[in-house]
C-alpha cells in the first residue's frame, strides 16, 4: 500500500507492505540510518523519533499508522547549516555518549522530556529516560547533559 508523510520537513511517499514498521520504512526505504534498532520488544528506545511533536518508538508503530504524519528523525534535529540542537550540543559537551548507538533515540527522547518538563530535576530525568537503554555511559553524563540542555532550550 502507498503511504505519504513528511520526514524532516520533506514530503515522502512509498509503497510498503502492511506489516512494515515505521522504523523499517525510515531505515530501509528512506535510508535514514541514524534511527537504530536495538531490540525487538520496544524496550531499548534506540529507534525513538518525533511523530507530530511527540517522542515515539518507531519500532512500535506500523508505517501506515504514520500516514500524513510529521516525522522528525535524528538527521532532522540540527539546523540546516549543521549547527547542533542544544540537546545534541549538551550531549557532546558533557560526554553523554560513547558508542553512539543508543544516542539518536536518547537525544530524541530527551528533547521531548524537556518539552514536557522544562526544568527537570535529576529524579525526573532518570524516571523519564527509563524507556531508553544505554549500556556505555551508566546514564551519569546523560543526566548531566539533559539538565544542561534544559537551561538552553
Amino acid at each position: 500500500m502507498k503511504i505519504s508523510m513528511t520526514v524532516n520537513g520533506k514530503p515522502v511517499s512509498a509503497e510498503v507492505e502492511a506489516r512494515t514498521l515505521l522504523v523499517t520504512f525510515i531505515r530501509e526505504n528512506l535510508r535514514l540510518t541514524g534511527t537504530h534498532v536495538g531490540c525487538d520488544t520496544s524496550q531499548c528506545g534506540a529507534c525513538t523519533i518525533h511523530l507530530n511533536g511527540r517522542a515515539v518508538k518507531s519500532c512500535n508503530i506500523l508505517a501506515m499508522q504514520a500516514e500524513g504524519a510529521d516525522i522528525v528523525t535524528i538527521e532532522g534535529l540540527a539546523k540546516a547549516d549543521g549547527t547542533l540542537h542544544p540537546m545534541q550540543e549538551a550531549f557532546r559537551e558533557h560526554h553523554g555518549l560513547q558508542c553512539g548507538f543508543c544516542t539518536p533515540g536518547m537525544v530524541m527522547s530527551a528533547v521531548d522530556l524537556v518539552k514536557n518538563h522544562p526544568n527537570p530535576s535529576e529524579e525526573t530525568i532518570r524516571a523519564e529516560l527509563d524507556g531508553n537503554l544505554c549500556r556505555c555511559t551508566g546514564y551519569h553524563n546523560i543526566v548531566k547533559a539533559v539538565k544542561a540542555a534544559s537551561a538552553k532550550m
Partner: protein, 786 residues
C-alpha cells in the same frame, strides 16, 4: 605552543558529531548493490539430535535465494570454530576441545544453536522462509548448570569430554595453603555463585559479507572489536582462504564489552555463503537472537576460604571454582576463568600462599567467554567478599583489615604468577573514604533507621591485570596468538597526520584520546590528527581492543612510531639547519639546534620529506611515514577502592544505591572526561550484576527464561545513582605513557562493594546476586516467622 599539549585535558570527542547527527555507520547501515539478507534457523531445544532437515517448502517461499545447513558446510570442508587458548590440566593433559561446528552437524547443544541459514531478497522473506524449514529433532536430556553437569550420570554433551569436564586446572602452592589453613587462628569460608550475565551491547551483532569473482576476494563488514584477529581465525583456521583476499571492516561498532571479540558462526557462514550465491549477504541479530547467541559472561560456582592470624593478617587463600564454558568453547573461553581469574586472587594484599583449582564445565547453554572484566570481576568478588566477611567475623573495621594487609612495596611478586609494578592502595582507599564521607555514615544510618530504612556500607579494593599482554608469557600460558599492537603515523606533506591503529574503538573514544597523544608529542593541534581503525584493508595489523589494553598497548605502539617520526625529522632538520643530528632538539612542534635560535617547524620538515629538493638523499629516504609494533613487557595493574552505600526498604526489599564512590589508579590520564565516562559505564554494569541482571535457564527444559529485555533486567537510568569518582596516580613503570587502562575497572570493583553494603545493612552473611527485591525482602524478613 604550550597549549598544544592536551595530555590531561578533557578534549571534547572528535567522533561525537557524527553519532549525534545520525551519521555514524554501523554494520547494519551498510547496504550494498544486489544486497541479500539472511535469517538463521536456530535450535528451540537445549540438547537434541537433528534427525532431518527439510528445506523444500522454504525453498519455494517468495524471494528465497538459497538455504544452507551444516551438511553443506561439511561437504565444503568448512571447519569448526577454533579456541584461541590452550589450557593444560593438572595432569599435564590438554583441555578437551570438542568440535564447534558453524551449523549443526547432527546435533544441537544449546537453545539458539545454528541449524540452517536462509538467504532471501529481504529480511522479511528470509525470516518467513526460515519458519518453513522443517527440522526433526530427537530431544535429549539437557544440563544447564555446572554443579549438575559434573554429577555422575549427568547427560554428556560431547563424547570428547566425558563427565562434561573441559579441564581441571590449578595454580599456586597447595601444600603451603593446606598447612597455613590448618594452623590459622581464623578461617572464613564462603560459597557463592557468580551469576551468568548477558553482555547486551545495544547494537546487536551484524555481518555483511560479499564476494568479488573477478579477484576472488571477500569483504566482510562486521560488528567486531578486533578485525585482524577475526580475519586470521577465519581464513587460517576455518575457511582456509588466503588472508590477503579477505578484508574485514569493523566500522562504527555499538558497544562490545567483550562480546564482539569472538569469531562467531554467523560471520563464517555468511562469508562462505557470499561466494556460493555470489551476492552480498547481510544478517543483523534480532535482540532475542543476541540473548541466545552472543557469548555470555561469568557463571561460576565457588567455594573460597581465607585463613587469618589473630590480628587479621591474611595467611592463605583456597579457592575452588566450577566455571561454565557453555555448550562449546568460544574464542577465549578457556582462559577467562583460569589465566584471567586465578592470577588475580592476591588482590591488593600480601597473602603469602594461594591455591586455586578451576574446573571448566560444558553445559547446554550459550558459550561463555570474556565479558567486561573477564575473570577479574569474579576474582575480585572472591577476594573482597572474603575480606569483608572475615573483618566482620573478627570484629575488625573493614578498612583497617585491608590496610593491615595491603602490599606496600613494589615491585611485588604475588604467589599467583603476577608481578605488580606499582600502586598506592592506602592512598586510593583513604581518598575514597574521604569522598564517601565514611565518617558521617553512622549518623546517616541512624537517620535512615528512624525512617524505617536499613543503611549499609560496603568496600571493595580491587586490582586487575590489563594491557594484555607480553606475548611470550601469554604463549607460555597457552595463548595461541600474540598480544602486541601496531601503530602507524602517516605525516602528510602539509604536516597533518593520519594515525592507523590496530586498536578498535567501539565507544572508548580512541579517535580523540589517540589524537591527543599524537598532537601533544608532535606539538600540533588535535584537529590536525585523524585516527583510523577497524579495517584490515587500511591498517597493517592489530590485535584489537579488549582487556583495557588500547592506550597501554595500542597507544604505546603509536608512541614508538612517533619516536621514529621525530628521529627522522631530526635528521631532516639537521640537514636544513646545517647542524649535526645529535644537536637537534624537538619540542613543542619545533626542531632547534641546541643552544641556538636556529629552528625549523615540524610542518616545514614534513614538507621537505615529501618535496626533497634540498635533502640528504645519500642518508635518508624521502617521506615521513612510520610504523611500529609494541609487545608489552608486563601487564599493567590498575587498582582502586570502591565504597557503596545502600538504603534498603525492608517492606519492599528494594535496594537503593544512595552513594557510590570510586577512586581509581589508572596511571597517567590523557582525557579525564573519557576516563570518568568509562568508570560510570563500568560501575553501572557492575551494579547491574549485583542488583538486577541474571541469566536464567530452566533446569528441566534447558529453556532460556531471560530471553528478552522484558525478562533480563538491564539497569535503567532510574536504577543507578550519580557517581562520585576520583583518581590517584602512580604512573605505570613500563610503558612510555605511564598508563594502565580504565575500561573494565568499574565492572570489576563494584559488585562486591554492593553486596558487602547489602549484607552490612541487613546484618547477614551472604546474599546471592542479583540481589533482587525478592531476595532482599526474604533476607530482611527471614527472622520473622511466616
Amino acid at each position: 605552543m604550550g597549549d598544544m599539549n592536551s595530555i590531561g585535558v578533557s578534549v571534547k570527542r572528535k567522533e561525537d558529531y557524527r553519532f549525534l547527527t545520525g551519521a555514524g555507520t554501523y554494520t547494519d547501515d551498510v547496504t550494498l548493490p544486489h544486497q541479500s539478507y539472511a535469517a538463521f534457523v536456530r535450535s528451540p531445544h537445549a540438547h537434541a539430535k537433528v534427525k532431518s532437515i527439510r528445506k523444500d517448502k522454504a525453498l519455494k517461499a517468495p524471494g528465497v535465494v538459497a538455504i544452507f545447513t551444516g551438511e553443506d558446510l561439511a561437504a565444503a570442508k568448512v571447519g569448526g570454530l577454533p579456541c584461541g587458548w590452550l589450557i593444560t590440566d593438572v595432569n599435564a593433559q590438554p583441555m578437551k576441545e570438542p568440535a564447534h561446528p558453524c551449523m549443526a552437524q547432527g546435533k544441537v547443544c544449546h537453545i539458539g544453536d545454528q541449524v540452517a541459514v536462509v538467504i532471501a531478497e529481504t529480511y522479511d522473506q528470509a525470516r518467513d522462509a526460515a519458519e518453513l524449514v522443517e527440522v526433526d529433532y530427537e530431544v535429549l536430556p539437557a544440563v544447564v548448570d555446572v554443579v549438575s553437569a559434573l554429577k555422575q550420570g549427568a547427560p554428556v554433551i560431547h563424547d570428547a569430554a566425558p563427565g562434561n569436564s573441559c579441564y581441571v586446572w590449578a595454580l599456586g602452592d597447595k601444600g603451603a595453603v593446606d598447612k597455613a589453613m590448618a594452623a590459622a587462628a581464623h578461617v572464613t569460608k564462603l560459597e557463592f555463585v557468580n551469576n551468568r550475565l548477558i553482555p547486551n551491547a545495544i547494537e546487536p551483532r551484524a555481518v555483511n559479507a560479499s564476494y568479488a569473482r573477478h579477484d576472488e576476494s571477500y569483504t566482510l563488514y562486521v560488528a567486531n572489536q578486533n578485525p585482524h584477529v577475526e580475519r586470521l581465525l577465519m581464513t587460517a583456521f576455518v575457511l582456509g582462504l588466503p588472508e590477503q583476499k579477505v578484508r574485514v571492516i569493523a566500522p562504527d561498532v555499538g558497544g562490545g564489552f567483550g562480546s564482539k571479540i569472538f569469531l562467531y558462526a554467523e560471520d563464517v557462514v555468511l562469508t562462505w555463503a557470499s561466494k556460493q550465491v555470489n551476492r552480498p549477504i547481510k544478517w543483523t541479530a534480532e535482540r532475542s537472537e543476541s540473548f541466545m547467541s552472543d557469548a555470555h559472561g561469568r557463571d561460576h560456582v565457588t567455594t573460597a576460604e581465607l585463613a587469618l592470624d589473630k590480628d587479621g593478617k591474611f595467611l592463605a587463600m583456597r579457592v575452588r571454582t566450577a566455571a561454565a564454558m557453555g555448550a562449546y568453547l568460544s574464542t577465549f573461553a578457556s582462559s577467562v576463568p583460569t589465566i584471567l581469574y586465578a592470577t588475580l586472587l592476591a588482590g591488593q594484599y600480601t597473602t603469602p600462599a594461594i591455591y586455586a583449582e578451576v574446573t571448566g564445565v560444558f553445559t547446554n547453554t550459550v558459550p561463555v567467554d570474556a565479558y567486561r572484566g573477564a575473570g577479574r570481576p569474579e576474582a575480585t568478588y572472591v577476594v573482597e567478599r572474603l575480606v569483608e566477611t572475615a573483618a566482620r567475623e573478627m570484629k575488625l573495621d573493614p578498612a583497617e583489615i585491608r590496610r593491615r594487609n595491603f602490599i606496600k612495596t613494589f615491585p611485588y611478586q604475588t604467589p599467583v604468577a603476577l608481578q605488580y609494578d606499582i600502586g598506592d592502595y592506602e592512598a586510593t582507599l583513604a581518598e575514597a573514604m574521604k569522598i564517601a564521607d565514611v565518617a558521617g555514615f553512622p549518623a546517616r544510618r541512624a537517620e535512615a533507621a528512624k525512617r524505617g530504612k536499613k543503611r549499609g556500607l560496603g568496600y571493595s579494593c580491587y586490582i586487575e591485570a590489563c594491557g594484555l599482554a607480553p606475548s611470550s608469557i601469554a604463549g607460555a600460558l597457552g595463548a595461541r596468538a600474540g598480544l602486541f599492537e601496531s601503530g602507524e603515523v602517516r605525516v602528510h606533506p602539509t604536516g597533518k597526520v593520519t594515525v592507523f591503529t590496530g586498536s578498535h574503538s567501539h565507544g572508548q573514544g580512541h579517535e580523540t584520546t589517540f589524537a591527543q597523544v599524537v598532537a601533544s608529542r608532535l606539538g600540533i593541534p588535535v584537529d590536525d590528527v585523524d585516527v583510523v581503525h577497524g579495517d584490515t584493508g587500511r591498517i597493517a595489523f592489530g590485535m584489537g581492543t579488549y582487556g583495557s589494553r588500547s592506550l597501554a598497548v595500542g597507544g604505546t605502539a603509536i608512541v614508538k612510531a612517533l619516536d621514529k617520526v621525530v628521529n627522522k625529522g631530526k635528521k631532516i632538520a639537521a640537514h636544513l639547519l646545517e647542524a649535526s643530528d645529535t644537536d637537534i632538539e624537538f619540542k613543542d612542534g619545533v626542531f632547534t639546534v641546541a643552544g641556538t635560535d636556529k629552528a625549523v617547524p615540524f610542518g616545514a620538515v614534513a614538507l621537505t620529506a615529501y618535496v626533497p629538493h634540498n635533502y640528504p638523499h645519500d642518508k635518508l629516504e624521502p617521506g615521513l611515514n612510520e610504523q611500529a609494533f609494541y609487545d608489552p613487557t608486563n601487564f599493567t595493574f590498575p587498582a582502586g577502592s570502591h565504597i557503596c552505600e545502600v538504603e534498603i526498604d525492608p517492606d519492599t526489599g528494594i535496594t537503593k544505591v544512595v552513594n557510590f564512590t570510586a577512586v581509581d589508579d589508572f596511571g597517567n590520564i590523557v582525557n579525564p572526561m573519557i576516563v570518568e565516562g568509562q568508570v560510570h559505564g563500568g560501575l553501572t554494569q557492575g551494579i547491574g550484576q549485583a542488583l538486577t541482571e541474571g541469566c536464567v535457564y530452566d533446569k528441566e527444559s534447558g529453556q532460556l527464561m531471560t530471553g528478552s529485555y522484558l525478562d533480563y533486567c538491564m539497569p535503567r537510568a532510574d536504577d543507578v545513582p550519580s557517581y562520585k569518582v576520583g583518581t590517584k596516580v602512580t604512573a605505570c613503570t613500563h610503558n612510555p605513557l605511564g598508563v594502565k587502562g580504565c575500561g573494565e575497572a568499574g565492572a570489576i570493583g563494584s559488585p562486591p562493594a554492593l553486596i558487602n553494603a547489602i549484607t552490612d545493612a541487613l546484618g547477614i552473611r551472604e546474599i546471592e546476586m542479583p540481589a533482587t527485591p525478592e531476595r532482599v525482602w526474604r533476607a530482611a524478613n527471614s527472622n520473622k516467622k511466616a
